[in-house]
Amino acid sequence: MTTLTPVLTANWDQADSFTLSGYGEYSAAKKALGMEPDAIIKAVKDSGLRGRGGAGFPTGMKWGFIPQGDGKPHYLVVNADESEPGTCKDIPLMMANPHSLVEGAIITAYAIRANHAFIYVRGEVLHVIRRVQAAVREAYEKGYLGTNIFGSGYDLELVVHSGAGAYICGEETALLDSLEGYRGQPRLKPPFPAVAGLYASPTVVNNVESIASVPSIIGNGADWFAAMGTEKSKGFGIFSLSGHVTRPGQYEAPLGITLRELLDMAGGIRAGHRLKFWTPGGSSTPIFTDEHLDVPLDFESVGAKGSMLGTRALQIFDETTCVVRTVLRWTEFYAHESCGKCTPCREGTYWLKQVLKRLEKGQGTEDDLSTITDIADNILGRSFCAFGDGATSPIHSSVKYFRDEYLKHFEIGGCPFDRAASTVWGASA
């Protein structure tokens, strides 16, 4: 049986966990600044840490792509624009333990030889922004940021930057455009940010949880981290359970834990109901069903079953939930948040929404099912960034697993589900 491994969440129940006195000295940063930058990159490579923002790219390898001795300034940008539907790990992490992020940013910036770093936090989380701002301020006061940190001669400026309401800014190149003061629209890659990122200079963009994991790796060693998880998906991660679960919440566990194990800890599906479908890592990851309870939640195993580990945002829906309605609501989200740059995504998400509305009302036909999968095929792989691909995930996977439920809608001329039954208060009625 897999057990939980609280590291980043370990201090969340302390009243002062978000302050320096509650967090402790930056001993890992102090240690790191006495190391060669390349030795830090090697340690993170050896740990096997892969990006916790969804894509799972090896973090140390990303850092290794930054050219050295190029005479250009380098930048570290922390992607704290957490907005993928279902994803709710970085927000509580930054609220309860912002110093792990600040310390991780210092170590990372030093390793990639950057003297300027940014934390780009989504704007709609005011108290989280206060906590991160306060943590940065405390770190400056203590001399952990600014000039000659720990007497090492190393200087770092760290700026907390608030977004302004645009999901697409979680896409790394859109985030960079936004941070430069433009509309947040993705750039064509290559060049990748490691070569031409912020202000066309070499830039590392990493997720909050990835950066916050770095101090523990430096402090405890790469082997310690690599001892957790699976062969190719090492370490721990925060799994976020939401929806029709008895005890939704944040569960920090080694990668490779299964939904069955997590549900056991979370008290199972809410009383009197059973699992119908779920997302392994946010709305952009194809849905799973009760067939997938024992799939190890690591990058390879989830991928082999046709979905993606994503952000480990486990949105759980029981049998009272209408799949068509849920997919419509995700699709409305994608239509709302498409930045409009690429035609297939901008127009495709709009039309998907129209057809799904018709289907949900029971006014569709079987042809509409071919239409939505056709539209999805014409978005997939045809846009600059992964947003368009993500929009197609709920469509393809829901038609695959729940075709009959779509058919049922137009057979009876409406939605066969009682919306009240799926609400929190409907359960007890």
């Binding site: 939980l4 279902g86 709710c88 927000i91 206060r130 977004g163 433009y182 929806g243």
Partner: protein, 221 residues
């Protein structure tokens, strides 16, 4: 410009501090738009002109950016800007019913403000608190685990001028303008208020502690 000399001077002082944080001045555009929103309650014409002047941009360049982001309001938001998450999970868990009952109760729709200027309503996409569904926010502070009755009571209290506290946040809710000032990067000194974490955020940790589960011992321990 219609800002009074005093207001103008204060805004310039704040703007210069913000601009000074960035290697290139244009990066300060988003914070500056939050700053003018903290003065006017929306990104006013004057405010956008101000941003353009401070950054050496044309007003068209500023408007081109401000219209991309949903948090910049083109008409005055209420003193309390109320959001209801209607993304799939919150919608299913009850967000749809909350939205329907709340709009009926308040008598305004999406993006509208009550005649007394107190409350504006917005349909929100996922606000990253799914384990607290159904979720609402007021001036971007969390109001977790809502239902139609609590939502209506919340808005009634706000309109009646009662003190209201977010679920996870400071002990007293600030105004939309004050919130915008924090977003611009200017502290209001309230970071220390409220819990570190609450409710579902602590479920995993509680279970780990109850079972004696920990991460392996590391070199630093």
């Amino acid at each position: 410009m219609t800002y009074s000399p005093e207001v103008r001077e204060r805004l310039e002082r704040d703007a210069k501090e913000i601009i000074g944080r960035y290697p290139r001045s244009r990066s300060a555009l988003l914070p500056l738009l939050h700053l003018v929103q903290s003065e006017d309650g929306y990104v006013s014409d004057d405010g956008q002109e101000f941003c353009a002047e401070m950054l050496g941009l044309t007003k068209a360049e500023v408007v081109g950016v401000s219209t991309f982001y949903t948090m910049y309001k083109r008409k005055p938001a209420g003193e309390f800007h109320v959001g209801v998450c209607i993304n799939a999970l919150c919608a299913v868990m009850g967000g749809d019913q909350i939205w329907d009952e709340l709009t009926e109760h308040v008598g305004i729709g999406n993006g509208e403000t009550t005649a007394d200027g107190k409350v504006s309503l917005e349909r929100l996409e996922c606000n990253a608190a799914c384990d607290f569904a159904p979720v609402m926010v007021v001036n971007w502070e969390f109001f977790d685990n809502q239902d139609p009755e609590s939502a209506k009571r919340l808005v009634d209290d706000l309109r009646a001028g009662k003190e209201v506290a977010p679920t996870r946040g400071p002990s007293r809710l600030c105004s939309f303008k004050d919130a915008s000032r924090v977003l611009a990067g200017l502290s209001d000194g309230q970071a220390g208020e409220g819990p570190s974490a609450a409710g579902p955020s602590l479920e995993g940790l509680k279970i780990a502690k109850a079972n004696g589960w920990t991460a392996p011992k590391g070199a630093s321990e």
